[in-house]
Symmetry: C2
Subunit: 357 residues, 2 copies
């Protein structure tokens, strides 16, 4: 049985293993990344090691005009761990476990991709993203240079072949290729919209009643936040949550895996962490909202507020952390600041209302 | 329902979030790690940036005496990704998704820990390791300075509180706290043995018929390889494999989560990747074996060879890679070189046989 299971998973060709290793060592910063502080002499360090003056990072701090674009913030390259001495630096050990790395580093590698439209982190085990991060403003949403009719779903060539989600995995699976960063948030350029069509930005989602309905209304809610906030960030991703089985009273995670051989996990739930920024430059107050929705049909009558959860719930469930560097004094609760509710409209009507803004 | 699930997961205190972020930035190498090549002028770079001459790394290359200790190989700090320009370096984007990192980097962080006895990587979502790597030699196994009676199971303080596996999660769960690096491989010092007792080196394992029986015999098989090989490395970890449901012919991953609230995943399977090194210094031939065993009662009569799988099967199932830097010319197949079979003995008898070696 276990052998059959493995054999199925093992099928198909070897793929770009060596390339993945090469990639693993290809993007190391020469400096420890530091995010900007309020001191103007502070520099930030990009992943290429090019310092960005703090003055540039904060140049829009007092601007109140709609939708100025914040200066670029570098992508921090996370170090994997707390500093613990390697066995090599300890005396008298008759073994050297780290010698393994002569054969390569096992990973996990999270395939961080920083595109124009989104930044994403990929889970090579489930073939879904860990998270995708997007940003939009009142202005970015009014620019219409991209049309989804011109975009095509794409396997992500930045992921090693053997860990890629494939178009054929989704084919006839019964699930939508569900955008995590919605295409509709990236109409400001065709290239940006195209970037949202990589399968590394997708998860298998229930179509009718969820991806095409309640989840779409939820995405619309996020966009409507720009009527109040000059800058909105959203981090979206899958969850695999346990459920108590009444038969034995134990908790089980159970999820389908689509593809033949099985390849892409079907998440049980999805989260969004919303950062509604009161000003468009860094440093202002942020209204935070965290939501977890089941990957299932949700009636439109269900209040969005029912899906609000403490941020830490998403953190514990995902193994991620979302606002460690955001001081309590800068935080507000989104659903206390604004009404957290979806607006259900026919598609044409939604488009019309949207154009008026 | 989903809210109840989340609420359960969200329970308990906030923990060391800020500390985790601090840790994330605390161990960055100043230099790109390079593993040694065969050129004697090549240097390797440790995580502390201290170059190790290649001559030192290869100093034992022609030694044939039992159990010389290979020179320390540095722990490479993996960069997360292929280099892709950040949005900041592209023209005209009206948004900046990487601006998110002002609030912290979401992760995932794999909590790489390099101890004397083992190197481990931790999965904050399942609260199990991704992998643990160990090394032993004929000599290391004969030194007896540690006794498991003096060791105690410990929550790993190197993992942020909110992502830790806890002793109470295992309590009355019905599962053993199953060592991934076996305590019996680390008798060479009490400290080394103690290090194997961190819960970051444990997974919930079926006790009778598996952890205390077949799995223990399998661990014994690994140790017995030292009668033939001067140096043996083993990487061990959990898997969560799908199974086809005959009811609907679909594939599902299903696993229990122990703890109240549910916290630690119970793997469906475990893998070991074995590197039996023909010489104790780097550069020699390596007999590779990959095995996947179900987390279930296995009759002692079942041949170990039944659990041998292609290395790539473990890679696809785990999302990890194990031998990218090991050229094909240096690889052999373990089970073609030696008999892959367990020896079932009563505990006392096993101890006696072991002492004779």
């Amino acid at each position: 049985m276990s052998k059959a299971t493995i054999a199925v998973i093992a099928a198909v060709s070897a793929g770009a293993g060596a390339a993945a290793t090469a990639a693993m060592y290809s993007m190391r910063s020469d400096k420890k990344p530091e995010l900007a502080t309020t001191t103007t002499t502070t520099t930030t360090t990009s992943t290429k090691g090019v310092p960005v003056p703090a003055s540039q990072v904060f140049s829009n701090q007092t601007t109140t005009a709609p939708a100025p674009v914040p200066a670029p913030v570098p992508v921090p390259v996370p170090a994997p761990t707390p500093a613990i001495p390697t066995s090599g630096s300890l005396p008298a050990a008759p073994v050297n476990p780290a010698g393994l790395f002569e054969y390569g580093f096992p990973g996990p590698v999270a395939d961080l991709a920083a595109r124009q439209a989104l930044v994403s982190s990929y889970d090579r085990r489930t073939r879904n993203p860990h998270w995708v991060a997007e940003h939009f403003t009142p202005t970015s949403l009014t620019i219409r240079d991209g049309d989804r009719k011109n975009s095509a779903f794409l396997e992500d060539p930045a992921i090693p072949e053997k860990f890629q989600a494939k178009l054929k995995d989704y084919f006839r699976s019964g699930y939508d290729r569900g955008h995590q960063v919605p295409a509709a948030d990236c109409k400001w350029s065709q290239k940006a919209m195209d970037e949202t069509f990589y399968l590394s930005n997708m998860c298998p989602q229930v179509g009718e009643g969820f991806n095409r309905d309640y989840w779409a209304h939820f995405e619309d809610f996020c966009r409507r936040l720009t009527t109040r906030y000059p800058s909105v960030r959203v981090v979206t991703g899958p969850l695999y949550l346990p459920k108590r089985d009444p038969a034995d009273n134990k908790w089980y995670v159970k999820y389908e895996v689509i593809g033949n051989p099985p390849n892409v996990a079907v998440p049980t739930h999805f989260y969004k962490v919303i950062y509604a920024e009161e000003q468009s430059a860094p440093g202002g107050k942020v209204a935070l909202g965290a939501f977890v929705l089941p990957n299932a049909v949700i009636p439109n009558e269900k209040p969005l507020g029912d899906f609000e959860v403490p941020l830490e719930a998403v953190e514990r469930a995902s193994g991620l952390e979302f606002a460690n560097k955001l001081p309590a004094a800068r935080r507000k609760r989104l659903c206390a600041e604004t009404s957290c509710s979806i607006v259900v409209k026919e598609y044409a009507e939604r488009q019309k209302a949207f154009a008026k803004k």
